[in-house]
């Protein structure tokens, strides 16, 4: 892919401001500042400008906005799945943000939660929901307070309630605080948790858009997805499509972690070259270390080697083409001096702890993968173990209710495959150490 001919050559990330417009603005969380920057104009346009719910859905469809939580499903299409029949419907915001390395939703709430509320109101209008929830991870104390504050302000300003802006549109919003489980970030797991049950994904069919929260049609959207909606309504679908690639439109928040000079949350258009992002925008690796690998989309995305990122761009299609995924946009940089054996063990520990334990392949498989990778780390492994890990992981893929098992299998397959030499070296060094010792 001719990345260096990308249209973003020479343009700085500061030029792409949709979600981070309020970055650096003093007192950005307040309603006044938000309104000064065009806040709630989109809602007014929708409610008072005579847009029908279908108009909103079509506009979002035309913008090419895709779910920013990880799966990248087109948002407008998802809203269109909700049956038009009367009855209670729910719009739920997934603010669980449990993917390791991800902190984009928190950043939005930190800048201004009204963006989310306005996006939610527009989405609710589009699907005909009169009640919506923000499902928040329990550990996000600040975000909980900011969201609650913003909801209160919105109620006081008449943007929420039984008669919003005098148009007769009724909508109520509430914050629900989860207890902190990775799997509650999965659509149906979140719904189970919201219903007061153990956070376990539900069997599909039926799909949540037909039968979700309390058996009613339910849409679950990521914070970032909804926060982008007001901008799209205000500026139109075409303006949004100017950013990004043909199939991956718009901008996305990327979180970079690892030993880079300037880690943090960046708003970038999709299709931005990954190498340029790491080495130019983030200033490269600390101390001039060599890059070994990159996990491009949170813990569940298969790992890319330094060679593989040479030309890759950050969009749904390019990542899928490389056998990994954009996921939540959490870029984890692994330098040369970190052993991939330890990376594997670390990731497996995470997945073993977070498997909900419902489906057998995942429940038993994640524990088994951890045990095997821990054996290798402890020097109790044998040369065939890396293949066995990849083999077992392969048998976990596509066999469970949700995609958690696939997520755990992703790194468990890609790391031993792409870094087989490191595993061999690891055995050798451990063996040598044992011999020297004994």
């Amino acid at each position: 892919m001719p990345v260096m001919n990308s249209p973003y050559n020479g343009r700085q990330p500061s030029e792409f401001r949709i979600l981070t417009e309020l970055e650096g603005v003093p007192n950005s969380r307040s309603l006044e500042v938000y309104k000064k920057h065009g806040g709630y104009a989109a809602l007014e346009k929708v409610l008072k400008g005579g847009m029908s719910p279908d108009d909103v859905i079509n506009l979002v469809k035309a913008s090419g906005l895709r779910g920013r939580g990880g799966a990248g499903f087109p948002t407008g299409m998802k809203w269109g799945f909700v049956p038009k029949a009367p009855g209670e419907k729910y719009l739920i915001t997934n603010f669980d943000e449990g993917e390791p390395g991800t902190y984009k939703d928190r950043y939005i709430a930190e800048l201004n939660a009204h963006m989310l509320i306005e996006g939610k109101l527009i989405g609710a209008y589009a699907i005909g929901a009169s009640k919506s929830y923000i499902y928040l991870r329990g550990e996000f104390y600040g975000e909980i307070a900011w969201c609650e504050q913003a909801i209160k302000e919105a109620y006081d300003a008449g943007y929420l309630g039984d008669n919003i802006m005098g148009t007769g549109f009724k909508h109520h919003m509430d914050v629900y605080i989860g207890a902190g489980s990775y799997i509650c970030g999965e659509e149906t797991g979140l719904i189970s948790s919201l219903e007061g049950k153990k956070g376990q994904p539900k069997l599909k069919p039926p799909f949540p858009a037909v039968k979700g929260y309390l058996g009613q049609p339910t849409i679950v959207n990521n914070v970032e997805t909804l926060a982008a909606v007001p901008w799209i309504i205000r500026n139109g679908a075409e303006a949004y499509k100017k950013f990004g690639t043909e199939k991956s439109a718009g901008t996305k928040l990327f979180n970079i972690s690892g030993p880079v000079v300037r880690p943090g949350c960046y708003e970038l258009p999709l299709g931005y070259p990954l190498k340029r992002f790491i080495f130019e925008d983030c200033g490269g690796l600390i101390g001039g270390k060599k890059l070994k690998a990159v996990i491009p989309g949170g813990a569940s995305a298969p790992v890319l080697t330094a060679a593989e990122i040479e030309t890759i761009t950050m969009d749904y299609e390019a990542f899928a083409g490389a056998g990994t995924m954009l996921g939540s946009g959490a870029v984890i940089v692994i330098p040369e001096d970190v052993s991939m054996v330890h990376v594997l063990e670390n990731l497996m520990h995470f997945f073993k702890d977070e498997s909900c334990g419902q489906c057998t392949p995942c429940r038993e498989g994640t524990g088994w993968l951890l045990k095997m990778s821990r054996d290798i780390v402890n020097g109790e492994g044998s040369p065939g173990d890396a293949e066995k890990i990849a083999d077992v992981a392969g048998k976990m893929m596509g066999r469970t209710i949700c995609t958690f098992s696939d997520a755990a299998a992703g790194p468990a397959r890609s790391i031993p495959q792409k870094f087989a030499h490191e595993f061999l070296e690891f055995y050798k060094s451990k063996q040598n150490a044992a011999q020297a010792h004994g």
Binding site: K198, E354, C359, T360, P361, W368, K395, R399
Partner: protein
């Protein structure tokens, strides 16, 4: 035909109602798809991931239990990738299973064992330590729970939530630490608890009643009907044929009567079948006699009395055939109809119903008995707590057909002490109750497991019993005794 869909499974075509799952279609076709969590009497959980099948046109393997059958669908359950999926699903189930089969009561009827022989037979690759969990937990008066053996299929949780609505059980913790257990300070106490041991595909729940008593491969099952109440649940009765010892009952599916379940009261219906709980031979004035001699004594008495001096006291625990033989023989021999009384326990609340299966009428054949009365033109008198009607009949000979299952007759002793007051009481029954000792003649009879006959349940469903060889070979059924009686009288005429 729009509400029917036709699909093919392994190239065999099958038509099922629309909305059926592949699993249901496969069951109908007789194709076995391995499964743990799916149970026809419970909701679909789809968590064991064992019932993987290949559906043409779908990229991934699908679970048969939750995939709706559609018109023209092509399903494959035998291809190599499906077999591989089954093998691996089993491997995942077994990696943390303790394999303490030698001390597990489920061994021999364990789904893990069965499926290992059917679709497994691999060399396990698991070399690490297994996850340890609590064992031999006391979770109620009837069950023992071993959480290590549990494969977390959630059948029991769903049973508690959906059938008994008691919700005692839950799965706690997550990942491979997920553990089945009762909610804090709660015990399993309802009348359907043994069903949990039945539906548990492994030995996580074992019945205290059966615990360590016998290995299941020594048992032989008989399909029969539970005599515990008027519901008449279809059951399998398990007997060790070597020792002539009965050990347990399990429900047998019948959609019209009991579905998949039976109650704990019904589970005790094996206890009165074993030799130690039964009268082994006839007792005439307390002396053991042959049944020939006993029947001769009855024949002699019958000859000397008129029909209105003979009273018959019936309980609704005998078969239609028994009642018919009794009444028609007596009518022939006496050339008239004897006085017929129906004995019900005074505490009985026949109309009670627990909403699932168990009924207050603890007699299995009330309806059948009434039908026979109608057929024989008999109008019975009810004895319930008040026995004055029997006393005033002043019968010379009273034939009493006592309850086989005494659990429904808590006032049995009291009633028996009233019966001994009558002249020449002949008691058909196996009771070892002290009060029965003073009866003139006591005749042991076959129990429900030993006779072939008919019970008619509360709803009018007539069901056949199947006969096992009797525990005491000389003991006969009521119908056989009366056939003998009839022959003997004719011979002496």
């Amino acid at each position: 035909m729009s509400n029917q869909v036709t699909l093919s499974i392994n190239n065999q075509s099958i038509t099922v109602p629309a909305g059926s799952t592949i699993m249901e279609a496969a069951q109908k076709l007789g194709v076995s798809v391995p499964h743990f969590c799916w149970h026809p009497g419970l909701s679909i959980a789809g968590v064991c991931r064992f019932c993987m099948v290949k559906v043409e046109g779908m990229p991934k393997l699908q679970i048969a239990c939750n995939t709706p059958a559609t018109e023209g669908m092509k399903v494959d359950t035998v291809s190599s990738d499906v077999k591989d999926a089954h093998k691996w699903a089993l491997e995942f189930h077994l990696i943390n299973h303790p394999l303490d089969c030698p001390i597990c009561d489920q061994a021999g009827e364990c789904e893990l064992q069965n499926y290992y022989m059917k679709v497994g037979k691999y060399q396990s690759q698991m070399e690490d330590e297994k996850v340890l969990k609590p064992k031999a937990l006391d979770v109620g008066d009837t069950l023992v729970l071993d959480t290590e053996r549990c494969i977390l299929c959630s059948r029991c949780v769903r049973f508690e939530d959906e059938v008994t609505k008691t919700s005692t059980l839950g799965i706690f913790n997550r990942g491979d630490q997920a553990t089945i257990g009762t909610y804090q300070d709660r015990k399993i106490k309802h009348n359907y608890s043994y069903n949990l041991a039945d539906i548990c595909p492994v030995g996580a729940f074992t019945a205290k009643d059966f615990r360590f008593k016998c290995r299941v491969w020594f048992l032989k099952e008989t399909k029969t009907v539970c005599p515990g109440c008027s519901t008449g649940c279809n059951v399998n009765l398990f007997q060790n044929s070597n020792q002539r010892e009965y050990y347990r009952l399990k429900p047998r599916h019948n959609a019209d009567v009991n579905g998949h379940w039976m109650c704990d009261t019904g589970r005790t219906m094996y206890e009165h079948l074993n030799a130690s709980a039964r009268l082994p031979a006839p007792l005439l004035n307390g002396e053991t006699v042959s049944s020939q001699a006993a029947l001769q004594a009855v024949t002699d008495t019958l000859k000397s009395v008129s029909a209105d001096k003979v009273a018959v006291v019936l309980t609704a625990q005998f078969t239609n055939e028994d009642y018919k033989a009794t009444l028609s023989t007596l009518k022939t021999l006496l050339k008239g109809t004897p006085k017929v009384f129906v004995w019900r326990d005074e505490s009985e609340k026949a109309e009670d119903f627990d909403g699932i299966l168990f009924r207050g009428d603890r007699n299995p054949n009330t309806r059948g008995m009434m039908d026979v009365f109608k057929e024989q033109g008999v109008s019975p008198v009810m004895l319930k707590g008040d026995f004055s009607a029997l006393a005033s009949a002043a019968a010379e000979l009273t034939l009493i057909f006592g309850p086989e299952v005494e659990a429904g007759y808590p006032n049995l002793g009291k009633a028996l002490s009233r019966f001994v007051e009558v002249k020449k009481a002949v008691y058909f029954g196996n009771t070892l109750n002290e009060s029965a000792k003073k009866m003139w003649l006591r005749m042991p009879v076959k129990v429900f497991a030993e006779k072939s006959g008919t019970f008619v349940n509360f709803n009018g469903v007539a069901q056949k019993l199947k006969a096992n060889p009797p525990v005491f070979t000389a003991v006969k059924g009521v119908d056989e005794y009366f056939a003998d009686l009839s022959k003997m009288s004719q011979a002496t005429l």
